[in-house]
Symmetry: C2
Subunit: 303 residues, 2 copies
């Protein structure tokens, strides 16, 4: 039975995303940290890992960026996008709620709601949204801000659902495996890489030009500082398209020449289903015809 490690515990948004990406009968295995989810896949203890990668309000998830950049390569085979809408669970009458616990990022995203509805409550940082629910069950806190799925694990009273200060916030999750042939292209795919850049003027411009001249759209560019030193970066790039397509393969080969190192993080269907636009001169046939023409000349067979 395939086993999927996810950044747990049970009852988090990541469990919810892992459930939506799992196949029938897959076993979901909660682990303590994002790094240990990837470590379990690398070690072959699990078949896949589900981790959050990006939030529309807060940006990239630093722990995931770091875990993807370091250690043996793993590649994404699928993504899921979940709305960030919280449920508030309690074991108390509303008037008696004195403490509200959750993960610090969750507390930050419902600060306005809490100020309006539970102004007297002290906010307590827990290690996850689900750990907050466990604390409520144990009587350590009066209420917890959790993922909707938490109520299926912890029999608490639902004080509110769909709680979010920013109504349209979403989080994107990746399903990661040990490297293998990517899933087949669908026409609406995303390719994700990390480019490690020499620290010199114009290096990033040159890399983006390799994408631009082939009509490839960036869907994300995230600069991660090297830990502990301002001004040194690696770049996480997502682009519209699949490595099986000629223009993407050609661009990645060019980046491999230009960059200190390029780590391929996967080509997989986009959760939003938006098809790639391919410019009139960058279709697969254009590349094949052009390569044939060069080969013909080299063979003394110029048309």
């Amino acid at each position: 039975m395939p086993r999927i490690a996810y950044f747990g515990p049970q009852g988090t948004f990541t469990e919810q995303a892992a459930g939506s990406l799992a196949g029938q009968g897959d076993e979901l295995v909660p682990v303590d940290t994002i790094a240990s989810a990837l470590a379990s896949v690398r070690a072959g203890e699990t078949d896949a890992a589900c981790v959050p990668v990006e939030n529309s309000v807060e940006g990239a998830v630093p722990a995931t960026m770091d875990a993807l950049a370091d250690g043996e390569p793993v590649t994404a085979v699928a993504e899921a996008v979940l709305p960030v809408r919280f449920t508030v669970l309690t074991g108390q009458d509303t008037e008696q709620i004195r403490t509200v616990a959750s993960h610090p990022h969750a507390l930050a995203q419902v600060r306005g709601w809490l100020a309006e509805h539970l102004p007297q409550a002290q906010l307590v940082a827990s290690t996850s949204t689900a750990a907050a629910a466990v604390g409520v069950q144990r009587g350590e806190f009066d209420a917890a801000v959790t993922a909707p799925v938490a109520v299926t694990h912890y029999p608490l009273r639902v004080l509110a659902t769909d709680v979010a200060d920013v109504p349209d916030a979403v989080t994107r999750f990746l399903l990661l495996r040990r490297p293998a042939t990517p899933p087949p292209p669908t026409g609406a795919d995303r390719t994700s890489i990390i480019a490690f850049m020499p620290d010199r003027t114009a290096a990033l411009a040159e890399v983006l030009n390799e994408l631009a001249v082939r009509g490839i759209s960036l869907t994300r560019l995230d600069a991660r500082p090297t830990k502990g030193r301002l001004g040194e970066y690696r770049f996480h790039l997502d682009m519209a398209g699949h490595i099986a397509e000629q223009r993407i393969g050609d661009a990645l080969a060019a980046l491999h020449r230009r960059c200190t190192n390029v780590r391929f993080l996967g080509s997989f269907p986009r959760a939003d289903g938006v098809p790639s636009t391919v410019s009139a001169t960058a279709g697969d046939t254009d590349f094949v015809t052009a390569a044939d023409w060069v080969a013909a000349i080299r063979n003394g067979d110029q048309a």
Copy 2:
């Protein structure tokens, strides 16, 4: 007497940064949020504002990026870089510490130290590192993780200093004023802008090319998602150089043609004192000589 608003309360890292950037006799005025610090400058209630802009581990500070992008323009005139090293203050004997409070970001950066030295303590989220110290004074918590400057405001016992899981982490702060002529160039300056980008392939590559062809080094590139929607961005760019220099002025003029909007956030001396490198063909004299040559031709005076 000049008044400097800072993201307070008293006893935070931002107060420490504001103190290092203030002139003799300047009055430091704590305000509740980053947005209100900038609002007080925009309204003329204060002469300047000091806010955090970037951390070497966590990256950009989203509240500052948003507050700089929205509302009337303000521009940076100076920066300060502080090491992120915390002090732990308490009113208890060490064995009796059951709760430790701090800002969630601070707790995240000392998690390893707390697990080793105070493993039994529950972590409580406060609105700032200084609010945690106030809570300890009031008996609400047993210990607080604070900025070093906090001990000058709150007479508590120092349990530990120089606490940090990542030993070389630093935070950069800006001193912002209403727009005026920038401080004069020093040869080791930084220029900061926000480029609002049309959502089309190659737009960012074209912008970075305008810097690259003039030999301008990026010192930071931060993509901020538009709140609530993945895939739409504005770009915060920091570059080595001063708008008074020809190559920077020429590049910014080019960006003004290319971008939907460009917001100038200031040219000011770098805290690290690293001088700008200027390529052999991009010095001020090169630009002036070249402009004179074009003007001469237009005047029928070709040499």
